[in-house]
């Protein structure tokens, strides 16, 4: 049934790259670079403004994908990637949506595991892609059986 969710998308949700959120995030990974938080420095930089750290999109909110029902526990984050067309700019609005890219199963030492690939993308005001991030979520047999009930 997770296979049926492949290709399904969420509705778009607008997120703003907030200055305070970027600072808090940069602090939490101890990466308080002036590129992220110093306005004057940002203006003088080649981007002409402050940018956000590359993993900042984890802070964005997304609408649910209706066809995808996942348990809140027992999921393992196996892989993660980010692909950028350009850096995220502090202060800009980003239109975000999520999509189920793939679902497959493999049998290994721990029984049959499910692998769910979710992509999340962010578009700028002109609908040009800024970034796509992909996460591979591993679902073990026990959790998957629970979902079928």
């Amino acid at each position: 049934m997770l296979k049926n969710a492949i290709g399904k998308r969420s509705r778009v949700m607008k997120n703003t790259v907030e200055k305070g959120a970027v600072k808090k995030f940069a602090e939490a990974i101890d990466d308080l670079s002036p590129n992220y938080v110093d306005e004057e420095f940002g203006k003088q930089s080649r981007f002409g403004r402050n940018i956000a750290p590359p993993t900042f999109p984890v802070t964005f909110e997304f609408e649910a994908i209706d066809e995808l029902k996942l348990p809140s526990k027992g999921l393992i984050h196996g892989e993660q990637s980010f692909h950028y067309k350009r850096p995220l700019f502090v202060g800009e609005d980003v239109n975000c949506f999520a999509e189920v890219k793939d679902y497959y199963e493999k049998t290994g030492n721990f029984g049959k595991m499910g692998f769910l690939v979710i992509a999340r993308s962010g578009l700028d005001a002109n609908d040009d892609l800024i970034f796509t991030e992909e996460r591979v979520i591993i679902i073990n047999e026990e959790v998957r059986k629970g979902m079928l009930v």
Binding site: K24, I29, D31, N35, P53, T55, G78, H83
Partner: protein, 133 residues
């Protein structure tokens, strides 16, 4: 500080060794990222999930690993960043971040990036493509 363009294939960026992981680090990351899964902050919840103790958010480690490249932001940006989570990070662990240039084509520099714990075990491993602009 050297520039990325001066690097030869096979050479490494300067390692960063993080301070031992504290609960406060993870509470701060939970707040900043919005990931409040309690296995990262509350002992009982981690134990209920079958873990010996709370573990760092994988994204905390991935977020930290990218800062090897922060000094070079004036030269370009991270175009692709992909990793696998290979091991758990526990309280008190001392994580070392490493990057080695493995390929160079025109404006794109590809690095192998690794986060190791104090037992030299890889906890995160992946690749960063840095594009020069």
């Amino acid at each position: 500080m050297t520039t990325l363009t001066a690097l030869q294939v096979g050479s490494e960026l300067e390692n960063i060794t993080l301070s031992p992981v504290t609960r406060l680090d993870l509470i701060k990351y939970a707040g900043a990222s919005g990931d409040f899964n309690p296995i990262h902050t509350i002992d009982e919840e981690a134990e209920k999930a079958g873990l010996p103790g709370i573990i760092a958010h994988g994204m905390w480690t991935m977020g930290n690993l990218a800062k090897l490249f922060t000094p070079y932001v004036a030269e370009g940006f991270i175009e692709n960043y992909s990793i696998r989570f290979r091991g758990m990070v526990f309280l008190g662990d001392v994580i070392t971040l490493k990057a080695r240039l493995v390929e160079e084509k025109e404006k794109q520099l590809t690095f192998e990036v690794i986060a190791l714990n104090q037992h030299e075990k890889e906890v995160v491993k992946g690749q960063i493509d840095f594009v020069l602009i």
